[in-house]
Symmetry: C2
Subunit: 284 residues, 2 copies
């Protein structure tokens, strides 16, 4: 008798609206304000239901306005997957054993821009904050690639923002992966060659202390460059590109019919064109 | 009179322990359980103090065990910066105007592994879940690069996990950036060439339906490859590498004396060696 009453009670509780994902999981997007006690009951009942249905991962997206519901979900066994300024994504794994839910975004992506004019002067800046503040170091313009932004677009944008110089993206000369640079996150930095289209510098007030076209020899003579294995290496790359036919990766616009999204593929176009023109393009 | 009382009250409230960051901000790492009301009072008083000190960004790291404190911080004007399974990072900007706090990690990083044996057979798998489940599609082993893991290490690990084949990392043939693949996050996928060191396949039970060495022609003849511009492009790249001296980016271990961290720089070593050996290595 007691069992039936319990079941009735469970059935009377409203369930959370959820959509199915491609991995036998469910996704809940909360949007309506509610009391945390009501939410806790709905969540409990919903998990019972999902378990019966053989569901595995449960995702709950909680907008920051509904922050009052977060504690209830954590008490139910949920943990954090990721957060953005306006929401928190909570996850739960119904089956026994270790979950197979995908990890959070793990990398921040940055660019460093190598821009040289016809006089072999390179575009350099001094930054107002960060580790180089007040050191007098002249460095390539750098910046962070925004979410959803192409690397080749970000490089042009950062140079424009910091120095007002217009550029055309040419190629990625190299990239570097480093770890634990940022709350335990990793970093991928792309060293990009850009061709200047304008030459009159107007520095950004908020972040940039100074900007100039600097003779290549002066740039490389800086102790900051000379003392750093990686800076010297990067500089050799830039020179190899300018003087010696070094080939980096250039962006090719592609469409994927698998995922319906567009994106750039970065390849050694110089070598690929050579290979294809020598008659080996078997796949078309 | 009333004002003095208020000020005394504020001064009696314990302040949150904080450390300074490099950008005129403060970082608070909560660890002791407390009531949310006590936390709210301490937080209010601390903000008054930080404002007096000219502080700008405020970071509060809240372990998931202290989830009861999150709502109080949001009510005080904090928002989410990022979250990991066991904590939530909240931020606040004290000055007037737009904040200049760095963005959250924005990219997930993946690898696809091109592994070919001496008989021109390529290592392929069928996956148990995801969009290719049940489609009969044979694809290169793929996987996600873990936080803190090198791309060249991740590629070798994924091939080993999925097929038990030991490999040596050779180079990155190309990479692709796509957007909004994953809760609005972007994705960077590195197509990697690996040299097989063993040949006996033992497939992973949990994720892999089947694995085999497949003749190159059979792989490329699949409709999944033929119908996809990007898959064909990637395949041409692989062939250009195998048959035509295509040069990708290979990893060079580097040390940065600026940040004291190690990492790999991925460069076109073939072209760089040519450039340097032709006598232009001016920077050492």
């Amino acid at each position: 008798m007691e069992k039936i009453i319990v079941e009735n009670k469970v059935q009377q509780v409203k369930l959370l609206a959820a959509i199915n994902d491609e991995h036998d999981g469910v996704i809940v997007e909360l949007s309506e304000p509610m009391h945390s006690e009501d939410f806790a009951s709905m969540l409990k009942a919903s998990i019972v239901q999902w378990r019966k249905q053989g569901k595995r991962g449960v995702w709950i997206k909680v907008p920051i306005e509904l922050v009052n519901l977060v504690e209830a979900a954590v008490k139910e066994g949920f943990w954090y997957h990721h957060a953005e300024p306006n929401y928190l994504m909570l996850i739960y794994w119904i089956p026994e054993g270790t979950h197979t839910l995908p990890a959070n975004a793990s990398h921040r992506v940055g660019i460093a821009a190598f821009v040289m004019n016809d006089k072999r002067e390179v575009l350099v800046v001094q930054e107002k904050s960060g580790i180089f503040r007040g050191t007098g170091v002249w460095k390539f313009p750098t910046g962070v690639v925004d979410e959803g932004e192409d690397i080749c677009v970000a490089a042009v944008r950062e140079v424009k923002e910091e120095t007002d110089i217009d550029t055309k993206f040419v190629e990625v000369l190299a990239f570097r992966q480093s770890h634990k640079v940022y709350f335990g996150k990793s970093d991928l930095s792309f060293i990009c060659l850009l061709q200047p289209l304008s030459f009159e510098i107007q520095k950004q007030e908020s972040e940039i202390e100074a900007a100039q076209w600097m003779p290549l020899d002066e740039y490389v003579a800086q102790p900051f460059v000379q003392k750093s294995e990686i800076m010297k290496y990067m500089f050799d790359l830039c020179l190899a590109k300018v003087d010696k036919n070094y080939s980096g990766f250039s962006p090719v616009s592609t469409t994927s019919n698998v995922s319906d999204e567009n994106g750039y593929l970065y390849v050694n176009s110089q070598d690929l064109i050579k290979a294809v023109s020598s008659g080996h393009h078997i796949s078309t």
